[in-house]
Symmetry: C2
């Protein structure tokens, strides 16, 4: 058995190693266009920031061995050939035409099975000035090494980051936190992390980044980059000029590397990724694909997704290795879990966001909550703001988004496990997380959100976006604040809310007669729990149309200014 693998990064090498474990007789060759193999690309921002000392740290095993071709030969009996580009796939004869970048020579390799793990490349916008010196992408080792040098030598004082996705935000922190470099973050869409977070959650992240000193321009398309003297100017929108940048980093996403495959008739999908079946096989039965260059099924939609993430690449590669070895291993649909650390915040999600839920023809409902990640009496609790998305008709859990300093990943992972098992709201209610006061209250945030979702589904009350407080107008509805005096003093309502009632929840039952009858009500408290309860108390007393502000004043605070 002769297996050729194109691409010596996570997916390709994992396929190679897994196959070797199962088939000692296979001849396995991995070809790689570049010089560096098997380095932790996800770690590049932390190398840039200085959290990681040398680039080699990113390509070492935990046991301090550099993962170069010699390592793979010795440990895995896998033949990795660097500086070797695949030029053409001849599917009929099962031959790949390759070129060595060492001497420019071309040669052929035969295969019984081929694995395409060619990764993804940065999307480079077609704008004026994109090729100027100082304008870089940030996906390759060489770029990171060069930028780190610029930081260390203090040649970089001000940077524009174009694109507020994961990489853009990680770079923003890297430049600012350790090196003290001024960062201007420019995003064409209207909010931060637009592919992942809904508008109001992205806005929360935006406010946090601003408080850390990042200059942010959202809804701002970069039109051109101009060289002015020693520095670069970025033109956003029609006439807004931002100037004085030493570097402009393009972080406008990546696109699957699939040119080679489409030329040879391998089918690709809407997102440009290679289409594979559940065994990671392409439309050619001898050719598999894995990693950033493929599209996989999403558990909640009929469509496929391209998720360039090292964790998925590893798991896909492993499945490919098993399938080539003859073990039937399905790669199951994904939920799209992701997480990012930015300054002191954790930002995570899994499942669909609201736009994707609507696109997929769900009828999504949304609930929000403001929580703390320890029992309320336990010292030093950290805040978490969570949003749960579910289908109003089927009660299916569609997604969760969480941001804040508190323990986010725990909730993302649990929800991912539930979503991968086609959970409904009731499965969250039955979920049994571990509990002790240092880790949370006896009722988990996910439980609260599920309870709220149930009430929304049953139309016991309605819930409003936390940022709706900004634009609140008394269109005939009564605004009721059920917080205590002290709470109101510390976190006053924004000025736009002039006409309001204020009755603390614990006095609401006895003072309910003070409230006007025959009106709709919008209730607010500190975190959302009491106003939810107040809405239900109002309902008991015959007021049918109530809504409360999800996450309360502490969540809404983010949007106040």
């Amino acid at each position: 058995m002769r297996v050729i693998i194109i691409g010596a990064s996570a997916a390709g090498l994992k396929a190679a190693c897994r196959l070797r474990r199962l088939r000692s007789d296979a001849k396995i060759i991995v070809i790689e266009k570049g010089e560096y193999i098997s380095y932790a690309a996800c770690g590049l921002p932390y190398y840039l920031s200085g959290d990681i000392n040398t680039f080699d740290d990113l390509r070492k095993t935990p046991y301090d061995l550099i993962k170069d071709p010699d390592y793979f030969k010795a440990v895995k009996d896998v033949d990795v050939r660097i500086n070797t580009e695949a030029l053409k796939i001849n599917r009929e004869d099962k031959i790949i035409l390759c070129r060595s970048s060492n001497d420019g020579s071309e040669f052929e390799l035969e295969y019984d099975n081929l694995v395409i793990a060619a990764g993804a490349s940065p999307v480079i916008p077609d704008i004026e000035g994109i090729t100027l010196p100082g304008v870089n992408t940030f996906t390759r080792a060489e770029e990171a090494i060069e930028l780190r040098k610029g930081c260390e030598s203090r040649q970089i004082g001000k940077v524009a980051v174009i694109g507020a996705g994961y990489i853009g935000i990680e770079l923003t922190e890297a430049f600012l936190s350790l090196w003290g470099i001024d960062v201007t973050l420019i995003e064409a869409k209207t909010t931060i992390l637009p592919e992942i977070l809904d508008c109001e959650m992205g806005q929360a992240v935006e406010k946090m980044l601003q408080s850390e000193g990042v200059e942010i321009h959202t809804g701002s398309c970069c039109e051109s980059i101009i060289k002015e003297g020693d520095s670069l100017t970025v033109k956003i929108g029609k006439e807004n000029l931002l100037n004085g940048f030493d570097r402009v980093i393009i972080c406008t996403g990546v696109r699957p590397n699939s040119a080679l495959t489409t030329e040879s008739g391998i089918m690709t999908g809407e997102k440009g990724g290679i289409i594979v079946d559940e065994y990671m096989r392409t439309n050619d039965e001898n050719i598999y694909a894995a990693g950033d260059c493929v599209e996989v099924k999403h558990i909640l939609t009929d469509s496929t997704v391209n998720i360039p993430l090292g964790s998925l690449a590893n798991r896909m590669g492993r499945a490919v290795g098993e399938n080539i070895a003859g073990v039937k291993r399905k790669f199951k649909p994904v939920a799209g879990s992701s997480i990012i650390k930015a300054f002191d915040w954790n930002i995570g999600c899994t499942g669909l966001n609201i736009n994707k839920a609507i696109e997929s023809e769900y009828k999504p409902g949304e609930v929000w909550g403001f929580f703390e990640d320890k029992a309320h009496y336990y010292p030093e609790p950290l805040p978490i703001m969570i949003k749960l998305i579910f289908d109003l008709e089927t009660r299916k859990v569609l997604g969760v988004q969480a941001v804040g300093e508190g323990d986010i990943i725990r909730r993302i992972d649990s929800l991912a496990a539930l979503i991968l098992n086609s959970a409904e709201i009731d499965d969250i209610i039955d979920f049994e997380p571990a509990y002790a006061p240092p880790y949370g209250g006896p009722i988990d945030p996910l439980h609260y959100l599920a309870y709220t979702a149930e009430s929304v589904i049953a139309e016991r009350t309605a819930i409003l976006h936390p940022e709706s407080i900004k634009s609140f107008k008394n269109d005939g509805a009564v605004f009721l604040d059920v917080r205590s005096e002290g709470e109101i003093e510390t976190n006053p309502l924004p000025d736009n809310i002039t006409d309001k009632y204020s009755i603390p929840l614990h006095e609401l039952r006895s003072r309910i007669k003070e409230l006007p009858v025959g009106k709709d009500y919008i209730v607010l408290c500190q975190k959302g729990m009491r106003s939810y309860e107040a809405a239900l108390v109002l309902k008991e007393s015959g007021i049918n149309n109530t809504a409360f502000i999800g996450g309360g004043m502490l969540f809404a605070n983010i949007y106040k200014d």
Copy 2:
């Protein structure tokens, strides 16, 4: 509708509040024997330690209101009567005979539905000296308040804690960490947290506690307590006398309060808890039960379990409230998730431990791993030691236990979600946790463990307990250390391993001829991953009988001395 609830703690009050939300017309009376209601009993150890300032902090809402009967009347329209004991249930006439401890008067209450949420009481061993002054249990507010005073006034210098369950360990930390009180922890079973952790995991916790300065006696039954002058002496075993204690705290577990119910013909189970159906209804259709006094189904066994935990009590109470209101709400079987923080360690589990798995007639396999909770190149990773238990025949996931400073709860919760969905090993392989370097490597510890479990099931290699290194003897098997020289130097093998081969993994393929043929092999590395791989490399070269030491030298280190 008239509903009486016995017990004003988590389950009872939750049932009351949930019922109120759904049925504004119900008359709801909660009777409580004691004076304090609705306080966070799980928080008592943190009140003792001083982490929480005043006892009132444990019975306040997050909004600073004391949860007393007035609070429940005002906010929830629930009538809570403290100092009121239920003496007798007359099921025929649906009447409860009560007694007020204020004036000793007796009176009757009628019900349409009754909820028993009477909680649990400490198990008090029947030994000499158990009633001596200074010998306390630790489940009631009054006890915690009195002990805290003793700590603050420095009247307590040395304490014996009898029972190394959750409470015993939390108290141990509370006494030692803030107050600097000497603690001797005495456990009748052979290891720490014996109901929850398997022997080797309990031993790991034991070693940690010892390193914090706790004196520990396991396998030591407390035979009697003797007053000698101003201090107490504890006799363990036949003649071992431990002396000089100012206090002896009995933490030998709790037992469901079900005397009242058994007298009235309500059925209880093997563990002494009230038996309920999936709607939390007892064998009397008008009587429900919830909280620490009931037994519920376990998802992995045919038997029931009694789990006295605030989180479950809340969820059970809520289900009862819904069912009485006429919403059909099942309380699903539990997985038994739990977590405890002890000094810098997190200690958690879900599912069955090995003994319970065997009792339940599974054929359990076990795998171990030593991991870090960040990508290996990311700064300040914290260790996690995890054990996964699964069924060798059905591949069903049976349980997980994890200990260490790293992020434990995330794994416990994910596994709980999977176990509650009847997961097999393959569901862990398909699990999609969120990934970024600050949170872990691209291959999650749970994935590694699932891969190892697969290899064990397929008999590609075998895995040995990490502590097996202590007792290793070269009974014809070759011991192979595949670590690097530097690693061996920092963490040398214990002295009992004299006859061994040492070849770093990356040289194993080229030097395999140095190894004797026709032998069985036991392989060791630093964390378990390389030795697992080495075992598979040996297999490739024709050596069929291999085993590796789970979790490697870093896990085994714990047991060295």
